[in-house]
């Protein structure tokens, strides 16, 4: 490849002080990683995310009990050695259910974010690249999604499709793809004016090639940052709707649903209310900390200090 085709973000390359020899040879990815590594809270968040993912993958292999296994003899036990998070009225071990709930949370959040990228990336690329009428039609349609409060839109979609986790994933993805398309479009509009895109056009590269090979890699930074925040928001929306009875259905051990079911007995068994909430906080916090650090590393202009 001639250097003409170096599809590298010029801003990131320029950020490396040209005087220092070490930085000159680092790719933007390496630079971002260096910056990310320095942020301790971000590393803590990443470790928390890894833990969540491991627990989700481990599933019933690592839960101490069967998450849905009932045992009347230990009904409503307070947290103790045998059951660190206590048991519910069916004698189900809450720690096992919380761990299984991690899997549900992760499936819903990663599932909805991936689906939202599959929808939003192409829409944003096309809108940003072609502009004009195409862009107007796509973005005005997305405006309708923005015209609704998030939870309300999710509520309406799930209410009409029927309460289930799959429909919830679909609802969350529909909401997120509008955000993705908006961010991608804005970045594409600035990137497509860069010289390397012009160069690609000059050698008669096809539009699809230009978009996929040259523009897409350069708009990924904000998309990745946004996706991380979407992961935490998806966990929150899943928990909210399951709490309202419009997401996971019993006996699925979703955190939100567990919290909802606990309300009847919370004066006698407060642990059933407290722990699912802590699990939600842990997961949302994990992705938020990671997202903050990623944003600072990948997109320094947006950093909050």
């Amino acid at each position: 490849m001639p250097p003409l085709f170096a599809a590298q973000e010029p801003a990131a390359a320029a950020a490396a002080p040209s005087g220092t020899s070490a930085d000159e040879t680092l790719s933007p990815t390496r630079l971002a990683w260096r910056s990310f590594r320095r942020r301790k809270l971000g590393l803590v968040g990443t470790a928390m995310v890894l833990l969540l993912v491991l627990v989700a993958i481990g599933g019933t292999l690592i839960t101490p009990y069967d998450p849905n296994g009932m045992n009347a003899s230990v009904s409503m036990h307070a947290p103790g050695l045998a059951h660190p998070a206590g048991t519910d009225r069916f004698g189900r071990d809450q720690l096992s259910r919380l761990m299984e709930g991690t899997r549900i949370s992760m499936l819903v959040s990663f599932g909805s974010v991936l689906l939202s990228l599959a929808m939003g990336l192409p829409l944003g690329l096309i809108a940003g690249y072609y502009g004009g009428l195409v862009s107007a039609v796509i973005m005005r349609t997305e405006d309708v999604v923005f015209a609704f409060p998030t939870i309300l839109l999710a509520l309406m979609i799930v209410a009409t499709l029927g309460p289930s986790l799959i429909n919830l994933v679909l609802a969350i993805a529909i909401i997120f793809q509008a955000n993705v398309a908006r961010v991608v479009r804005a970045s594409v509009m600035s990137v497509k004016e860069k010289e390397f895109v012009e160069a690609a056009r000059a050698v008669a590269a096809r539009d699809a090639v230009i978009m996929a090979r040259f523009i897409l890699p350069n708009v990924m930074s904000p998309v990745i940052v946004q996706a991380t925040f979407h992961l935490s928001l998806a966990i929150f929306i899943e928990a909210s709707l399951s709490f309202l009875g419009l997401g996971a259905q019993p006996p699925t051990p979703s955190w939100g649903l567990m919290l909802n079911e606990s309300r009847t007995f919370m004066e006698f068994a407060p642990w059933l209310t407290v722990f699912p909430g802590l699990a939600i906080i842990f997961a949302v916090l994990a992705f938020n900390l990671m997202g903050d650090a990623l944003r600072d590393a990948l997109d320094p202009r947006l950093s909050e200090r």
Binding site: T141, L246, R263, T273, G277
Partner: protein, 315 residues
Amino acid sequence: MLRYILLRLLGLVPVLFGVSVLVFVAIWVIPGDIVDIMMGDEVAQSEKAMQRLRAQLNLDQPIWMRYLLWVGNALRGDLGVSMISGEPVLDQILERAPVNLQLVLIAMVFIIVIGIPLGTLAAYKQFTWVDNSIRVGAIFGYVIPNFWLATIAVLIVSLYFPRATVLDYVPFSKDPIANIKGLLIPGFVLALTTLSYIVRLTRSTVLDTLRLDYVRTARAKGLGERVVMSTHVLKNSLIPVVTVLGIQVGVLIGGLVLTEEVFMLPGIGRMILLSIEARDFMVLAGGVLFLGVVFVLVNLVIDILYAFLDPRITY
């Protein structure tokens, strides 16, 4: 400015059209035959009654005609009648709206009165223990789910203050003071996420402003810290905060559904939830459409306000 306002009002038309189409499609088209769904459980439904209901809901008309009829009625303030109680949907909404308005206003007061000063204080004392504790508090405040906090609040009140009436809903007309007292905790719970976000945002915008030259000039010419902070720094830092507050109204409206559910408040959010349970699509459509339109209008007002606040913006 007038031109800008007119343009924005014109821009409302396609958005409101889109909102109405989305609600219409989601509620009246996707689920399939509403009459079947509604009547599904009842065994002895005569064919005639179903026909009548279909005609009443215009289900015998082509789809575009149904949309036009629905929107036309909505524009004239007729959101239909509840399929369960027969009560007009708009009456139900207007009866419940004051609770929502109060909750959002109380939440806004908390956000502005606590959030902005805390954020400013954190920026002013950057990297001290004050700043650090405010930042940690804001991170946790941001990630605590409001429905969990609401549940814990109810739990604490019922465990330790069994006789307290802080969570009882009293209509405003009956006893205004008891009414507001009863809404303080729900209002705070509703506010917390946005409040924490505003603390972080205020902190970072104030820090940005503190670095600007004119702030140094103001200090150099011997102005007191109080004057510098209030007239030079805060005024200019708050512009982005106002915009974000507008967007956050959406978060508050979404949060209403959850807050009302846990605190058993008779607002529109609860009405929507009940209508989902009861499959009362007329009420569901009316409620969602109403909140969507309110949200769009609030954003419009904030946008116009923004133009007033920041003279650099010209249209």
